[in-house]
């Protein structure tokens, strides 16, 4: 059994200031308004996060101009961002790319990229999945071939977060021997025609997903992938779980607020047990999600990013992702149900949480993948 720590005063302060900033500058209304724009998010808000708030610097160690904070602080931000369905490239850049460099990158790659990622000047993303996005980093087929002092990449990646706005693309590819991680200067490669980024029509338009096709694309090796990439993806799943907790809490709050004010049969609908019991189940799902995520975050905060596989982290991560994906999806569905007809309209926010919840179930490992891992960790591997 793991002992969990209560939030520190600093974390509480971070939560309050994040909530205030996001409400003022990145509310769901803002996000919806900007979803169709060229960037798809508010670039000015992203610059403030980098230059003034220091959010992208949280996970970056001091020696690379970062804040050297832990996953515990990061999760506070992710939860608040999840609550408003924040659509900027935080998850792709400040979590995925930063963690991938910390876990896989050699010293020069860290020195090259981390300070700029920390400042928010450079937006990074990570390209792992191929074909239909099955979550198995060992199945990477993208090829890396030596070319002079560098490499050239060939292959197609899909479900790449924020590739359309990223300056740095970290690609998992297979070299002559071991699989590795390779850095691509995305704008240059697109301009030269060696990389093609196709933005996908997505269920959740608060997250941009692309297919990236690489044809002899010049790249720099940043280090071996292997266990480091697996750790990166485990941490990504924990980060997503924290976001899902925030989203689920907001969907619950919305449902409860509506049930208190919507009257039918001469009384608030929330006074009917059929409705209030639904809300109680939603609350239970959120509390369970909080608990498993708190455990996963404590495990993540205690782990050292690196090349070593971390069994505890893998277990806690799959558990949190499996649980929170289901919980958020259930709560987002019930939020629509509690709202009735209005909840099924385009103008209402309920479908946006539903879309985010559905999309999150699949990202970073679908329910089947994480269930297999949970069962394997519990001692039950597949028989056949």
């Amino acid at each position: 059994m793991t002992a969990l720590a209560a939030p520190t005063p600093e974390q509480e302060e971070l939560r309050a200031s994040a909530r205030k900033f996001l409400a003022e500058r990145a509310s769901l209304d803002d996000t919806v308004r900007l979803a169709g724009s060229a960037a798809g998010y508010d670039e000015a808000v992203w610059r403030i996060m980098g230059e003034q708030l220091g959010w992208p610097a949280l996970l970056v160690p001091d020696e690379y101009d970062g804040a050297g904070a832990s996953f515990a602080e990061l999760s506070v931000l992710l939860e608040e961002m999840g609550a408003v369905l924040y659509s900027g490239p935080f998850l792709a850049s400040a979590v995925l790319t930063t963690t991938a460099l910390l876990c896989c990158g050699d010293e020069s790659a860290k020195r090259d990229y981390l300070p700029r990622l920390a400042a928010g000047d450079l937006i990074g993303t990570l390209a792992v999945y191929e074909d239909n996005g099955r979550h198995d980093p060992s199945q990477v087929r993208c090829r890396a071939a030596r070319s002079g002092s560098g490499w050239r990449l060939d292959g197609t990646k899909t479900l790449v977060l924020d590739a359309s706005v990223a300056g740095l693309l970290l690609v998992a590819a297979r070299g002559d021997e071991d699989p590795g991680l390779f850095a691509v200067d995305t704008p240059a490669a697109v301009a030269a025609g060696t990389a093609e980024v196709v933005t996908l029509r997505v269920m959740d338009d608060t997250r941009r997903l692309s297919t990236v096709t690489l044809r002899g694309c010049p790249a720099v090796s940043v280090g071996p992938s292997g266990a480091g990439l697996a750790v990166t993806l485990d941490l990504a799943a924990v980060a997503l779980a924290a976001e899902q907790v925030g989203g689920a809490q907001q969907a619950l709050d919305d449902a409860v607020a509506y049930a208190k004010t919507r009257w039918q049969f001469g009384r608030p609908v929330g006074s009917f047990q059929a409705v209030k019991h639904r809300c109680a189940d939603m609350y239970m799902a959120v509390q369970g999600a909080r608990a498993v995520t708190a455990h996963a975050i404590a495990t993540a905060a205690a782990s050292t990013p690196g090349q070593q596989p971390d069994r505890d982290l893998g277990h806690a991560s799959s558990l949190a992702k499996a649980y929170c994906s289901d919980a958020f999806f259930a709560v987002a569905s019930e939020n629509i149900q509690v709202h009735g007809g209005i909840g099924f309209t385009w103008e209402h926010s309920a479908h946006r949480y539903f879309r985010r919840a559905q999309s999150g179930r699949v990202l970073f490992g679908d329910p089947s993948w994480h269930r297999r891992r949970v069962l394997a960790a519990a001692g039950l591997s597949e028989q056949r």
Partner: protein, 422 residues
């Protein structure tokens, strides 16, 4: 993260090592040849078997109490160790690695519910008189809460306690109690019962209740008739208790007159949290996984989903408990959180029932002496816990009304209890 919640409390690993040393000095460690803990939720024993199981459990409770492990969560000046709930959890975890006598339900009620309630509401005299014998298992106390007409609507209890001016057994002045209680686990072995009775029928129903520690056996006790009820799983853990002019001296009143409802809520909140984190070590998700492994290629593919769901529910419950420990380092979990913990456990039970259905099929309904048949008792016990200690529906109401602030259902009855007024 294995840190102590307070600086004046031992580090968890230090505590764990201390506990392990104590347990090793008294018990045999579990190994492969140890009899596995039963998967049944209700013991399914006859009264005689219940009585036999109680003796070693009481002895073990005494040993623990004398060594300072009898009530780890209670304040030191009230017979405990003054350590947060996580220390009790660690103790229970370590105890499960040894062949400890199982704790029959009535002992759990006596030590963890009634004694804890007494520690909070008892007068200094009551605490001095009862805490040590209760915590050491010398005397046993049950709950006297539910009635035939006051189940979910517990505040509608009709059992009356009326003041009598003349001396009563054990005291100069007191109360005479008449009514009927039901579902009282362990009343047949109890020396006292934590009684909730109506002392004032003329005020709103929650306000007319008073709590007592009612003597159930011993010289001078009369008007108490305890009749066992056989439950659906086959055993006889609970009873009906008929009270016909049973006497309780005023010095055994628990809390002020009219304060019975908060006293009852305190006990119930502890109960819900306890049943969720309780020491029913048998039907764990790990046990399901082991069973599934033994089935090997015979494991039905469709059994995997309920197994993983039972495992997820169990982890959520465990981490939720740890999260509550961090949030409330000195204990005292509020009602809605106790309800959540209990509902998480019920969710685990539901998935467990489903898993054993998919794994065992025929062995579950016809005893063929195999492992599958043992689970029949689990399946038959699970419906009881959807009701005991507050039905699922009541727990949902508690969460909805107290955690989410949703309005209560309109109540057609008048503010006064009809039962009390009749």
């Amino acid at each position: 993260v294995d840190e102590a919640p307070h600086t004046d409390q031992p580090l968890i690993p230090v505590w764990r090592a201390e506990v392990r040393r104590f347990l090793a000095g008294h018990l045999r460690p579990r190994n492969e040849s140890s009899r596995p803990s039963p998967v049944a939720l209700f013991a399914g024993r006859s009264q005689e078997q219940e009585r036999e199981a109680l003796t070693p459990a009481r002895e073990w409770q005494r040993v623990k109490f004398e060594a300072g492990y009898g009530a780890i969560g209670l304040p030191a000046e009230r017979g405990g160790r003054g350590l947060g709930p996580i220390y009790q959890r660690v103790f229970d975890e370590e105890e499960r690695a040894f062949e400890a006598p199982e704790r029959p339900m009535v002992l759990r009620i006596s030590v963890y519910l009634v004694a804890a309630t007494l520690a909070e509401y008892g007068t200094p005299q009551q605490r001095a008189r009862f805490l040590t014998p209760l915590l050491s298992g010398d005397i046993i106390a049950c709950q006297l809460f539910s009635e035939p007409e006051a189940g979910s609507d517990l505040a509608g209890v009709r059992t009356r306690a009326a003041r009598v001016g003349t001396p009563v057994a054990g005291g100069p002045a007191g109360w005479r109690v008449t009514g009927q209680k039901i579902w009282t686990s362990g009343a047949q072995f109890a020396d006292y019962g934590e009684l909730i009775a109506r002392t004032n029928p003329d005020v709103p129903k929650h306000k007319g209740l008073t709590a007592f520690l009612l003597p159930l056996r011993g010289p001078g006790v009369h008007g108490v008739d305890i009749r066992p009820i056989r439950e659906m799983a086959g055993g006889t853990e609970f009873n009906e208790v008929f009270l016909d002019g049973a006497e309780v001296p005023d010095e055994l009143r628990l809390g002020d007159e009219g304060q019975g409802w908060p006293v009852a809520l305190t006990t119930l909140s502890i109960e819900r949290n306890l049943s969720a984190t309780s020491d029913r070590p048998g039907a764990t998700a790990a046990r399901l996984v082991e069973a599934a492994r033994r089935l090997g290629d015979d494991l039905e593919e469709s059994a995997r989903e309920p197994i993983v769901q039972a495992y997820l529910a169990e982890r959520a419950r465990e981490y939720f408990g740890a999260w509550l420990d961090a949030k409330y380092p000195s204990g005292g979990v509020p009602g809605p959180d106790g309800a959540v913990a209990k509902l998480m456990w019920l969710s685990q039970l539901r998935h467990t029932t489903e898993a054993v259905n998919r794994m065992y099929a025929g062995s579950l309904i016809a005893d063929d002496g195999t492992e599958g048949s043992e689970w029949a008792a689990h399946v038959l016990g699970a419906p009881g816990f959807r009701i005991a200690g507050g039905t699922e529906e009541i727990l949902h109401n508690i969460i909805a009304e107290r955690a989410l602030g949703l309005p209560p259902e309109p109540r057609p009855e008048s503010a006064r209890s009809r039962g009390a007024a009749s």
